[in-house]
C-alpha cells in the first residue's frame, strides 16, 4: 500500500521527503512567506492577465475545489470513486434550475446545492462504502454512466441534451470590476474557504481516523475507530465539494449540458487526483491545472491528443511517481532545503 510504512519497506533508512503519501515532515523552510506571496499573486492576477487567461485560472480553481473533495476520499480515505462527475452535475444543474426556473438569486444557490450534494453523498456513501475498493469503483462508475442519461430523460426540467443556459453573475457596480474579474475573485474566495476547511478536516480527529483506516483498517477498527461512519462522512464531504464545484462551474460557464458531465469527467477527476498527488493539499490545485491546461494545449494538435496525453501522463505518474506532481514538488523543495542547510 502507498503509505508511511517507511520502516517496513526500507529497513531503518528514512526515505527522502516527498516519496510517500501522507508524509508530514517539513519540506520548505519559508511556508508563511511563500503563502503570503502566493495569496498576493492570486489576488493580483485578474488585473494583469487577459480575460481568457482569467477564465482559465477560474476553471483551475473550480476543478481544484472538486479535486480537493475527491482527494479527501481517495487520497486520505483510500477509497476510489469514479462517480464524482455525477455530484458536479447535481450541483451545476441545481444551481441552473434554481436561477432560471425559480428565480433564486445566484449566491443563495451555493449553500443549497452544497447541502443537497452533502445529503446525496451521505445517502450514496452509506451503502457504497461498505464495499471493498474495486466494488466501490464499479458502483460509482455505474452512477457516473447513468446520471447524464437521467438528465437527458427528464428534459422538461433539465433542458434535455440541449442543456440549460444560466445567467452569468454580474459584478455589482460598486466594485468597479469586470464580470470575469468578479467571478474569479468570487471563486477564489470559495476556494480559499474550501482549502481551509479541508486542511482542518485532514488534521482533525476525523482526518487521522481516515488515514488510519487507509493504512491499516483492521488495526484502526481494533483501536475503536468507526471506519464506516468516518468514511461515509468523508464521502458526504467530498460529494459536497463536488457539488460546490458544480455550482461554481454553472456560474462561470453560464451553460450546463449532460455532455459536460459524462463518465469521462469522473474518470478525468480521479486521474487528476492521482496526477496531482493523492493525500496532499497542494495536489488538487496541480490536478486542477492538469485538467484545465492539458486539453487546452493538446486540443490544438487534434481531437484525440488530449486523451493520449492524459492517458500517458496517468500511466507514467502512477508507475514512476506515485506521489504525483505534489510529491515531486516536495522532493524538489526538500532538495533545496538540504542545499541551503535550513532543514
Amino acid at each position: 500500500m502507498s503509505g508511511v510504512d517507511v520502516a517496513g519497506r526500507t529497513g531503518h533508512r528514512r526515505l527522502a521527503v516527498g516519496q510517500v503519501a501522507g508524509d508530514r515532515r517539513r519540506a520548505w523552510p519559508w511556508p508563511r512567506v511563500t503563502l503570503t506571496a502566493l495569496a498576493a499573486a492570486a489576488c493580483l492576477v485578474p488585473f494583469l492577465l487577459e480575460p481568457y487567461r482569467v477564465f482559465q485560472l477560474t476553471m483551475v480553481l473550480v476543478h481544484g475545489i472538486a479535486l480537493l473533495g475527491l482527494n479527501l476520499l481517495v487520497g486520505h480515505g483510500g477509497r476510489v470513486s469514479l462517480g464524482h462527475g455525477a455530484f458536479l452535475a447535481v450541483g451545476a444543474y441545481g444551481s441552473a434550475i434554481m436561477t432560471t426556473s425559480l428565480g433564486v438569486p445566484y449566491p443563495l444557490t451555493l449553500p443549497v446545492c452544497a447541502l443537497v450534494t452533502f445529503g446525496a453523498g451521505l445517502a450514496l456513501g452509506r451503502p457504497a462504502l461498505r464495499l471493498s475498493g474495486p466494488y466501490l469503483a464499479v458502483v460509482t462508475f455505474a452512477v457516473a454512466v447513468v446520471v447524464p442519461l437521467v438528465i437527458k430523460r427528464f428534459g422538461a426540467v433539465t433542458g434535455g441534451s440541449m442543456g440549460l443556459s444560466t445567467p452569468v453573475p454580474v459584478a455589482p457596480s460598486w466594485t468597479g470590476l469586470a464580470d470575469d474579474q468578479w467571478l474569479y475573485l468570487l471563486v477564489l474566495a470559495v476556494a480559499v474557504g474550501a482549502f481551509a476547511v479541508a486542511r482542518n478536516l485532514v488534521e482533525s480527529r476525523a482526518g487521522r481516523a481516515l488515514a488510519a483506516g487507509r493504512e491499516n483498517p483492521a488495526a484502526a477498527e481494533v483501536l475503536g475507530v468507526r471506519l464506516d461512519s468516518h468514511r461515509t462522512l468523508a464521502f458526504g464531504w467530498s460529494a459536497m465539494y463536488a457539488g460546490v464545484a458544480g455550482t461554481l462551474y454553472a456560474w462561470v460557464v453560464g451553460f450546463v449540458s449532460p455532455d459536460s458531465f459524462t463518465v469521462t469527467l469522473s474518470v478525468v477527476l480521479l486521474a487528476a487526483v492521482v496526477v496531482g498527488g493523492p493525500g496532499s493539499l497542494l495536489g488538487p490545485l496541480l490536478g486542477g491545472a492538469f485538467i484545465t491546461f492539458v486539453p487546452a494545449v493538446a486540443q490544438r494538435a487534434g481531437d484525440a491528443l488530449p486523451g493520449i496525453v492524459s492517458g500517458v501522463l496517468i500511466v507514467v505518474v502512477v508507475c514512476f511517481a506515485p506521489t504525483g506532481l505534489a510529491g515531486l514538488l516536495r522532493m524538489a523543495a526538500g532538495a533545496v532545503t538540504r542545499r541551503t542547510g535550513r532543514g
Binding site: M1, S2, V74, G78, V80, L82, P127, R130, L131, S132, G133, P134, Y135, A137, V138, V139, F141, A142, V143, V145, V146, L149, V150, K152, R153, N216, P217, A218, E221, L227, V263, T264, V267, V268, L270, A271, V274, P278, G302, D303, A304, L305, P306, G307, I308, S310, G311, V312, L313, I314, V315, V318, C319, P322
Partner: protein, 289 residues
Amino acid sequence: MGDLLLQVVQGLSLGAVYAALALALVLVHRFNGIVNFAQGELAMLSTYVAWQLLEAGLPFWAVLPITLAVSVAAGALVERVVIRRVEDGGELACVAVTVGLMVLVNAAAGLVWSFAVRSFPNPFPAVLSFGSAQSGFSALGVLGVVAVMMLLLHLFFRHTGAGLIMRAVVADPVAARLSGIRVGRVLSLGWGVAAGVGAIAGILVAPLLFLEPNMMGGVLVYAFAAAVLGGFHDPVTTVAAGLAIGVAETLAGTYVEVVGADLKVAVPLLVIVAVLSLRRGRAGVRRTG
C-alpha cells in the same frame, strides 16, 4: 408471442456478449486482483484490428484467429510493461492505471481510425433473410460462438498442462513460484487470454452496435454488473448473470414504459447496487482494506 421470443433470443445474444466481456474481467481479477477498466477498450482495439483485416479483403474466419493472436499478444504486453509495475502499489494505483489505459487506448483508436462511426459486417450468413427472422438467426450465431469459446476455455483450464499451471498460480502464487512456475509469465498469459476473450466479445457486438472508439462503454457497464453478480470470481454465475442481464435489459427497454431505450443502462446499475447491498458477507464482497 413470436415477438417476445425474438426479444428473448436477442437479449440472450447481447447477454452472451456481456458474459464474454465479464468473463475477461473475472479472469484478470482472478489472476492479479485487478478490476480492469481498460478491458472494454482493449476489446474495441481488437475489433478495429479485425475490421482493418476485413477491409484488406481477408475472409472472416481467417481474420478471427489472427485477431485473437494479436489480442493475446497485446494483453500479455500490457501486463508485462504496465501492470507489473503497479501490482503491489495498492488499489488506487491499480484502478488509476487501468483507467489511464482506458483513456489512452480510446484516444489512440480515435487517432488511428478517427471517431467516425463505421459499420461492421455481420459474420453470420443471412440465410433466413425475411424480416425479423434474420436478426434471430445471427443472434443464435453469437450464442453459438460464445458457447464454443467457453467450452474451449473450460477444456484449456481443466484439461491441459498450461491450464493446470495457471490454476496453480491463481490458487497460490507464492507456492507456485516455489515449485518452479514462472508466475510473471503466467500472469502475462492470463491477461492475454482475457484480452482474447474480450476480443471475441468486441467482434460479436460490433455488427449490432456499429464500430466506433466509444462502442464498448455501455457494454463494459453491463459486463461489470455480470462480474459483480459472480463476485468477480465464479465464471459460471458470471455467464448466467450476463445472459440474464441481456434478457432483462432487452425486455425492460421494450416493455417497461419508464425505462425506454435511453435508460436501459440503468438496469445493470440497479442490479449491481441491489446485489452488493443484499449479498454482504459472501466471499469477495466484504473484504476490508
